[in-house]
């Protein structure tokens, strides 16, 4: 069969919503795009553990501590599901982790912002997880089977993440003056970075959008961002707080909220490694990996030793 034939079969499958599975023929670029996107998604989960893990030891009640530990641990699980999905495409976790540590592979920029107060745990859950969930729900229908299945599992587990964040802010918003101020401050700091999570504007892209054609991604950045703004603009009323954007206003004609311009210079600065925490985040990951090396080696050495003993006994 010619490559053109294979490509046609492949695109026909995608067009009729048939999932692509690991052993199916796929264009090289499709494989590469998926490896990149899934592994970067995985890295985002793993690096994303750090800003929230930062508050586990200081969570203000035992209940909140348990919730936070469970949530950060879920993120480890989600990273693991995603690495596994990427591994079906012929890469290895070791390789992906090396790409993260060398700075070659990226992760979501949002995690390069610091978590400064306890209220940030609520804001991250509500805004950051809220933004992530919109992407993730869409990705449950992505065309690559293992990725879609990992996302279904993740979405099921994620549903408590955003809820706990909002509930945590709700308590602060009904608390003391200091708690209210802490709540508003966290929203102020996390709002714009959350909007940046959806990526550059659609108009920035001139080329044909292959990812949409391949149904890896099914909604545009701007569509998702608008959906997010509309959702949050309603929810914040329940908190009695403000979003830090004086251009935010309901547009009756569009039936959507208008909102202000994102600071794209900041967006690119953070992507390029100049966010407040880029350096610390990567260093924390490298350190964990390097310090774990002897542990991984010892476990493998022991397993090999035991397997050999078994062989000898059998012989």
């Amino acid at each position: 069969m010619s490559v053109q034939d294979l490509e046609k079969i492949f695109q026909d499958a995608i067009d009729s919503e048939i999932k692509i599975e690991p052993k199916n023929w796929m264009p090289d670029a499709y494989r590469k795009t998926n490896i990149r996107q899934i592994s970067q998604h995985a890295h985002s989960e793993i690096v994303g553990m750090l800003p929230e893990g930062n508050w586990i030891s200081r969570a203000p009640s035992l209940k909140r501590k348990a919730i936070l530990i469970a949530k950060v641990q879920d993120e480890a699980g989600h990273g693991l599901y995603l690495y596994s999905a990427a591994e079906t495409l012929g890469t290895s976790r070791d390789e992906m982790i090396n790409d993260l540590h060398s700075g070659k592979a990226k992760y979501s920029s949002i995690f390069n912002y610091p978590t400064l107060t306890w209220a940030d745990m609520g804001a991250v859950g509500w805004l950051v997880d809220g933004a992530a969930i919109l992407n993730q729900v869409m990705l449950c229908r992505t065309s690559y089977g293992p990725y879609a299945r990992a996302m279904v599992r993740i979405c099921k587990e994620e549903s408590f993440h955003q809820r706990q964040g909002f509930e945590s802010l709700l308590v602060l918003s009904q608390g003391t003056e200091e708690q209210k101020a802490m709540c508003q401050d966290a929203i102020n700091r996390w709002w714009w970075p959350s909007l940046m999570m959806f990526g550059p504007k659609d108009s920035e892209s001139t080329n044909s959008d292959q990812s949409m054609k391949w149904k890896i991604k099914r909604k545009t950045n701007d569509e998702l961002r608008q959906q997010f703004v509309d959702m949050i603009a309603e929810q914040i009323k329940l908190l009695g707080m403000q979003l830090p954007d004086d251009k935010l206003k309901w547009n009756e004609q569009r039936k959507h909220n208008d909102f202000g311009e994102i600071n794209w210079a900041e967006f690119w600065a953070v992507v390029k490694g100049n966010g407040p925490c880029n350096k610390q985040r990567l260093e924390a990951r490298r350190k964990a990996h390097e310090e774990g090396k002897w542990v991984r080696e010892a476990a493998m050495a022991y397993a090999d030793k035991k397997a050999n003993q078994k062989k000898q006994e059998a012989a």
Partner: protein, 243 residues
């Protein structure tokens, strides 16, 4: 009698809370993703146990106290946890060994506590026992793996034994409030079990080590103050707030 029971419950609560706090420090920093998740699970189990104990202690104490007041507003000298659990994580080997020593002890102890005359204490212990059984299995397997793994892992385990052994004696010296169980009687079995695991991993059992004590009476190592400073910070910075 009632005060003794309260102190005993608080000792059990503090010990599980502090170890949960220590293990949770690994969250996001484990040697491999799968084990990051595993140690965090153990942390969550222990935190759950401590909450059960604090809640029960709060009922016994009465008034307006609750689990958070007991965990967040008592001071260094009031904490009754074992010295072992407040020791720093060190490397993975030290964390594993600390968990193993404790789980082995906790297993034997809770087997007795589940038959305690105090129904609530018995119920909490019986529930926890299932978790402990798994912690014991997981940590003892890791001790063997590291003890009998590579040259490096073995020497790290030897160092961990050197760091931690001196905090194990305290477990079997009963405090005045530990009347529900004959703690001393657990010592022999604990040593036998540890000996078996150490033999399997070709690690030597230390002899004639001077044992540190005091945790059960609130006289701690210097580490506890820092743990509490972090643990209690928000509650103390914003008193009388709901979270």
């Amino acid at each position: 009698m009632e005060n003794k029971l309260i102190d005993h419950i608080l000792h059990l609560a503090d010990t599980t809370l502090i170890l949960a706090q220590r293990n949770a420090e690994w969250c996001g920093h484990g040697p491999i993703l799968e084990q990051d998740i595993a140690i965090t699970n153990i942390s969550l189990d222990l935190l759950g146990q401590s909450r059960n104990f604090y809640q029960y202690a709060a009922i016994l104490i009465g008034g307006d106290t609750d689990e958070d007041k007991l965990a967040y507003l008592r001071k260094e000298r009031e904490f009754k946890n074992l010295l072992l659990v407040e020791q720093p994580n060190g490397d993975w080997g030290q964390t594993i060994l600390r968990q193993y020593f404790f789980s082995q002890y906790q297993y034997l102890l809770f087997e007795k506590l589940q038959n305690s005359k105090d129904e609530q204490l018995a119920a909490i212990s019986a529930k926890a026992l299932k978790e402990i059984k798994y912690h014991l299995r997981w940590s003892s397997e890791w001790v063997v793996r590291l003890g009998d793994g590579t040259g490096e892992s073995r020497s790290r385990m030897l160092k961990a034994i050197d760091e931690l052994w001196r905090y194990t004696g305290e477990m079997f010296v009963p405090a005045a409030y530990e009347t529900a169980v004959d703690i001393i009687s657990l010592k022999n079995e604990w040593e036998q079990k540890v000996k078996t695991i150490f033999e399997e991993s070709s690690l030597p059992l230390p002899e004639n080590v001077f044992m540190q004590t005091g945790g059960k009476q609130g006289v701690h190592t210097e580490h506890l103050g820092y743990i509490l400073a972090e643990l209690q910070y928000v509650q103390r910075a914003y008193p009388n707030s709901t979270w």
